[in-house]
């Protein structure tokens, strides 16, 4: 079977499995899985930027905030239903990502890290200062999502999150297998060779920034309706750092790694909720341990253990 069809099939199967699990599990476990899936979306987007196209970003959570606030505000002011407001929020985030990406594509390494850090601070300050719109430090309540007038049940929200998550992962797999994905890697590995082969390094960097911001915005919008409330503290430097943990532990450049890393490490905040202060400490320690002992992440360890297969992008597409 054609590889792209095989990928689609596997994603469909995964979606069905997740939907079945959600139906059988209690509402709290389903909620936790939804949270994990939201983190997966954000992690997958971040890995495309950091792992594949090699750009440091410390402001991923800011794009989640943009997505969360804009989808929520679109729903409450214009009355957009959730299935329109969330993609719209993602689009807004992607546009903001492109705006940051424009100056950022001329920077790399430490200077890019600093610029994204500066952007994160600016977004935090804007959220706090324009509190009439954003609710400031007190946060913002989100409208309950509804389909054709009836509010969604918690399982309904779970289904929505599942569908979006699987679709987002499917899109990422396709992108990674295509020319676009290869160009991301090319720009990271050797910008000079990439240029000589006709690749516009600036454009690739901009695309990567915008794309990952869109993923973050999508995750942010879903997170907002899942929790029912937007707390600006959820979108600070700690959150960006956690997302970087997910992809470093999972494996930079690996979509599977992003999924596993995000899913595994998502459980932590909930497990430690009673003693919430420990989550930052634990996250920092895990990240350090991962960097010291597994610099290439779980994905690399997995490849070492499983039998070696061809590294090509798959069978010849029909």
């Amino acid at each position: 079977m054609q590889t792209s069809k095989r990928v689609l099939l596997r994603c469909a199967v995964a979606a069905c499995a997740l939907l079945a699990i959600g139906a059988g599990a209690g509402s709290y476990p389903a909620y936790l899985i939804s949270l994990a899936m939201v983190n997966v979306i954000a992690a997958v987007g971040l890995n495309l930027l950091v792992g594949n196209s090699g750009q440091i970003s410390l402001c991923h959570s800011s794009f989640m905030a943009v997505g969360a606030y804009s989808s929520s505000l679109l729903a409450s002011t214009v009355g957009l239903p959730f299935w329109a407001s969330i993609p719209a929020g993602a689009l807004v985030a992607a546009i903001v990502g492109a705006l940051l990406g424009l100056p950022a594509r001329r920077l790399s390494g430490i200077y890019l890290a600093l610029a994204t850090l500066g952007f994160l601070q600016i977004v935090q300050i804007i959220i706090e200062e324009f509190s009439d719109i954003t609710g400031g430090v007190r946060g913002l309540n989100t409208a309950k999502p509804a389909l054709l007038g009836t509010p969604l049940t918690s399982y309904g929200i779970y289904c929505a999150v599942t569908v979006v998550c699987v679709a987002a992962v499917w899109l990422a797999i396709n992108i990674k297998r295509s020319r676009i994905g290869r160009e991301f890697d090319a720009v990271r590995l050797s910008p000079h060779a990439a240029q000589a082969l006709g690749i516009s390094v600036a454009r690739v960097k901009l695309t990567a920034f915008s794309l990952s911001a869109g993923y973050a915005g999508l995750a942010g919008g879903l997170f907002a309706i899942l929790v029912g409330f937007i707390d600006p503290n959820e979108f600070g430097i700690g959150s960006s750092l956690k997302q970087l943990t997910y992809i470093v532990v999972g494996g930079l450049g690996s979509i599977g790694g992003s999924v596993v890393g995000a899913a595994l490490l998502s459980g932590l905040p909930e497990l430690l909720r009673p003693i919430k202060e420990y989550t930052d400490f634990a996250a920092a320690l895990i990240l350090l341990a991962a960097l010291l002992f597994m610099p290439h992440g779980l994905a690399a360890a997995w490849h070492r253990v499983t039998p070696k297969r061809g590294k090509t992008t798959g069978d010849v597409p029909a």
């Binding site: 396709n174 290869r182 000079h192 000589a196 690749i199 029909a318």
Partner: protein
Amino acid sequence: MSPCLELVDVCVGFGGVRAVDKLGFSVAAGQVRGLIGPNGAGKTTVINAITGVVPLLSGDILLDGERISGLPAHVISRKGVGRTFQHVEAFGELTVLENVLIGAGRASSAGLLSCALALPRARRAEKTMRSQALAALEAFGLLHVLDERTSGLPFGLLKRMDLARSMVASPKLLLMDEPTSGMSESEADSAIAAARLLATMHGTTLLVVEHNMRVMMSLAQHITVVQFGSLIAEGTPAQIQANPTVIDAYLGEEAVDAFH
């Protein structure tokens, strides 16, 4: 008919040093032109100037009569200028096939949306790029290392990959920076033969920088000699070998032995 490549009074410099000084020459379409000169003569700089990696202080570079100097490097590449690198600049983590596929990327017009949704358009483009890449790999005898990561492969093999990668998109002009360094004699001969064949098939003009005089003399139809960034001689291989200015420039260089 305008020449494929034309340099007019090109000057390139960094911080007061002139790497290339009022250099001018032209290469007719389909020709194989050699570019030689003692070490430090500025040959790689000339290549970097043509490909747009370094800016010109003054002068013009024309491709098929169209001015390309001053354009961004990737734009120049898309206009049909390919190059190989002295040190290969392979995409280390990627496989040999993936490296060459990236070279074939120009064939694809499928955008982000088509690729993300795996639309038929994107799949067809992928198929085309793949067959182009496989053909190029076959020409350079690399099919057996398709799926190997380039990091860790022998240098000579990587040089062949670089050739395949730069030729897969059938450029109008290919700039080769020491293509046979690191290759054994037989490896060099078959690589050059393959490059020549592909160039003839696609009408590619070649500009070759080579230190291996044996290869250069048999490959090039016409040779341009530079020293200290300036032109000192031009002619057929036979004329160059007999040119006293050229021999003078190489005095003390190992290469002078290759002449005789």
